[in-house]
Amino acid sequence: MLLFARAGTRRLIQGNGARRWGSTLVIAAHNNERLFPITFNAIGAAQKIGGDVTCLVLGKGCGKVAEETSKIAGVKKILVADDNVFHGFLPEKVAPAVVAAQEQFNFTHIVAGGDAFGKGVIPRVGALLNTQPISDVTEIQSEDTFVRPIYAGNAIMTVRSLEKIKLMTIRPTCFEGAAPSGGSAETDKAPAGKSEGGDVSQFIEQKLTKSDRPELAGAKIVISGGRGMKNGENFKMLYDLADQMGAAVGASRAAVDAGFVPNDMQIGQTGKIVAPELYIAVGISGAIQHLAGMKDSKTIVAINKDPDAPIFQVADFGLVEDLFKVVPELTKLVTKK
């Protein structure tokens, strides 16, 4: 009897303990002006894990972002470090700061969005903490069990991490974003990290392609062009159509490799992964690399002049027509409405 009671109590304490000590650090991705939407998804994911959510904001002149972060619902505390070394968000500089925060506050989970920034920082933090990171998490089942795609999305794996600190990047399209208002987090200074490796790399400049169109990752409609577009100027046709439909424009790897468009527009295994309601493939005949990035689209429409193009075999709707004729026509039709 006594034995039973003891076993029961012990389990109870363990259960409580995990909840009480569970705490998650979210590394905020921003541009010193505003938070990137992916950060809200990361915070949303952190809330699913349970426990307190702390947000780490590193940057140069990032006061505005810190303020924005403190208002996000569900964030308990934010750690801010405003320093020149974070200029350009070099992972070499950010990672030690994350480790320093970890050493001071002993988080159980560290979460970052799966964008270029998070993918650069998390592996470094993993190396410094001697911990195996889990990348591209699509679902959180419990505080130590996560779901993630493997083999380029061909299989889904459920992993249970035995690491003391669970490091992960999350796939933003799989988690709902936290509400941007309604929270009041206390602000604290983040501990300074030991910069390792000195100034091996330096931030020189950043060239951004500006666009008023919705972001590829979250767009409801995506129009993408392939090698069939022939050259970069012809992509303007797609932009015109996209503007009328409120769509984002992407490209296949062939189009990016041919230099038609910058590589931030690439959809595919090595590029961005999209899951829109409507996906329009223009001048793409089909490429494995590209298919991996768009297979979760609800409706796939293909426009190609070659009736034998393999993409017609997977598209819900196909249009066999010269794209240089059809796209302007489509634009006209959409505009009329």
């Binding site: 699509t138 796939r171 297979k295 979760d296 075999q313």
Partner: protein, 90 residues
């Protein structure tokens, strides 16, 4: 054509022929085109050019594999998740 290359070409043809059996538009559709594509290059003698054509054929195999995979994935998804994305079920 040296014997080694010859057997590789034949192997490639066999592999493509096998993969074409389940082509959505019908095996006949695929097999006539396959034969035409191979016959078109039957006079190629340069070993380097043949290597290139073999690489092209291997690429096509991969493409067809991906095509089958994607078709299967999408039809499975349609039947199991009528209105949501599989990755978002939680």
């Amino acid at each position: 054509m040296s014997g080694k290359l010859r057997s590789r070409v034949i192997n490639l043809y066999k592999q493509l022929h096998y993969m074409g059996k389940e082509y959505p538009k019908g095996a006949d559709f695929f097999h006539t085109r396959l034969k035409k594509a191979f016959l078109k290059n039957k006079d190629v003698e340069d070993p380097k050019a043949i290597e290139k054509l073999i690489a092209r054929g291997e690429y096509v195999i991969k493409e067809i594999e991906a095509l089958y995979m994607l078709r299967k994935y999408r039809s499975l998804k349609k039947s199991y998740y009528p209105d949501e994305k599989p990755a978002q079920t939680s």
